[in-house]
Symmetry: C2
Subunit: 344 residues, 2 copies
């Protein structure tokens, strides 16, 4: 088989003895072409190994059959789960999905967005470094559907999908208090991250409402939301005088919680007796930890799916109105906060 340039509709048409338009019809409106011709055309396509040229279709159509997700941190499985949800939805609409990763850097984010505009993607889903960034608004102003995932766009200029982070903070700390803890640490940062602020806020709210002493809720800031930072927070925690040391920690995500867990176990602490730990996100590795991690679950795939739904609505429905979808987080209690008799 000669491997020249790949055959086009023209070649197929010639080989089947019909016109271009007919070949196109066979692909796009098979019902209008007679069975006999259709069959002939299909055979020709198979023989020549015809493959549609997507760029030509796109050029004609003015838009590509592609969505894009710009994730915030490739190293956090949470975002991959969101991406998986998006991909399912994309698949259902027969669209491709571009997955990009800004790695938390605004510069890379901008580069990706630029490329995506050139690709004329149908819509962009993004967990942005900064939801208020100029370049996001610019894109939306161009008429490209943009949906913020796992953050809430302040301006209302976009749709967004997120969980109620304040509530998430509340149920985490409420759970710890229910388990009898009266000194709790909240670990996360930097505070420039909206989620961190809101989860902390929720924690403080419920702490006050339950009548706990304000000083007994300690906020331990971190520089990032990584396993390593979780470990280092554990060391800081261990350094506190015993009488003031929290007996439980609420971490703003699971990576921090896993790091803290590792450090605590390494230091010989019994979990949850000497230190109880709650994470956030409920990534798969939370359940897989040596001491399975209690975590505030976000419906990760659902988040992605819903976001994709919104972006598609905006792309296709002229009457679309921006909306802010909020999901309800849910506490998944496991051994890192609840001691259970174990079979030995």
């Amino acid at each position: 088989m000669a491997i020249g340039r790949s055959p086009s509709v023209k070649d197929v048409a010639a080989s089947a003895g019909v016109s271009l338009g007919t070949v196109s019809n066979v692909m796009n409106r098979p019902e209008v072409v007679s069975p006999a011709t259709r069959e002939r055309v299909e055979r020709a396509m198979a023989e020549l190994g015809f493959v549609r040229n997507e760029s030509a279709r796109q050029l004609r159509a003015g838009t590509s059959r592609t969505l894009a997700y710009v994730m915030l941190e490739g190293s956090n499985p949470f975002f991959h789960d969101v991406a998986a949800g998006i991909e399912m939805a994309a698949e259902d609409s027969d669209l491709s999905l571009f997955i990009c990763n800004s790695n938390g850097r605004s510069g890379r984010e901008e580069v990706h967005l630029d490329r995506l505009m050139q690709q004329r993607v149908q819509g962009i889903l993004i967990t942005p470094v900064d939801p208020g960034a100029r370049h996001l608004a610019d894109i939306a102003r161009r008429g490209i559907p943009v949906v913020i995932v796992d953050r809430v766009g302040e301006s209302g200029a976009f749709c967004s999908v997120a969980v109620d982070d304040v509530l998430g903070g509340r149920i985490a700390v409420e759970h710890l208090v229910e388990q009898g803890h009266s000194r709790v640490a909240v670990i996360g940062g930097p505070e420039s991250i909206g989620q961190v602020r809101e989860r902390l806020e929720g924690a403080r709210q419920v702490w006050a409402e339950l009548g706990m002493k304000p000083d007994d809720l300690t906020y331990l800031p971190t520089a990032e939301m990584t396993v390593a930072e979780g470990r280092s927070a554990g060391e800081r925690l261990a350094g506190l005088p015993a009488r003031r040391r929290p007996t439980a920690a609420f971490c703003a995500n699971d990576l921090l919680a896993l790091g803290l867990l590792q450090q605590a176990i390494g230091a010989g602490l019994r979990i949850p007796e000497e230190l109880a730990i709650v994470g956030f996100d409920d990534i798969e590795f939370a359940a897989a930890a040596a001491v399975p991690l209690t975590s505030v679950r976000q419906p990760r795939q659902e988040l992605g799916r819903a976001a994709a739904g919104l972006v598609l609505d905006e792309a296709t429905n002229p009457a679309h109105e921006h909306q802010q979808l909020t999901f309800v987080p849910e506490l998944v209690a496991r051994a890192s906060t609840v001691a259970r008799p174990r079979a030995y």
Copy 2:
């Protein structure tokens, strides 16, 4: 700002009072156009908010500025690390990267590949469900560069990049024997996976060479390479009569190892004293486990980078020859096999 269709080179040309060709030159060969005109054109582009239409470029060029990676299992971070390596390389060549996920199903893999052909991607990197699959060969025959990642294509019809899995099995088991173990389990499966076979093979080789009793190397097959299967393997292990029970396990990947670790710790075993564990891949969560996991490291990002290099070579270099790149795996010893005094 009116949001009609986005402006084209034609609009820019009109606005700047030059011809299409000149606008194109400003973008592609700025040095051939006089500074004055260039400046005028650039201003016009900025004013109109001109964004290149990538599909038109592609149509003209006959190929897209895009690579693709079809990963095997989205739930295994290993593949995301490989993808990250590919993305860096793509970035260096100013290419976009499509990331797809076959989730271990041949059908999805085929759907993805089909789409990628339609997109006229420059090259395809893939960790295939089955390296011998017909559809892979078909694509290569069409002249599209294909590189197999983390598997070796039997036929030599493609380039491939992988680590020496036999060697990986050898160093894992060698390490365990060095640590004084004389009964070892190898956990992994199904055996249809090439890696599993080769890692097991390496384990058996070195076991024999070191003069250990063949019966003391137990192979525990699993149905998948997941955390859950790791746990269940742990239960089977615990069910063996004490005198025959292995004191160490070599798992064919880290997910299995983490599952096993969790099960063992839950059952009250001390690690590594009562059970030593070695994983494979050295994903980030291996180091983050409660008992940090000894693992056979694959240079994950390097794998991706090298694969991208090969695919680009095949795409651009007429004198390209297929090659099978093999990396050397490396043992990273941690607490799951080596007891160290700990500071309490």
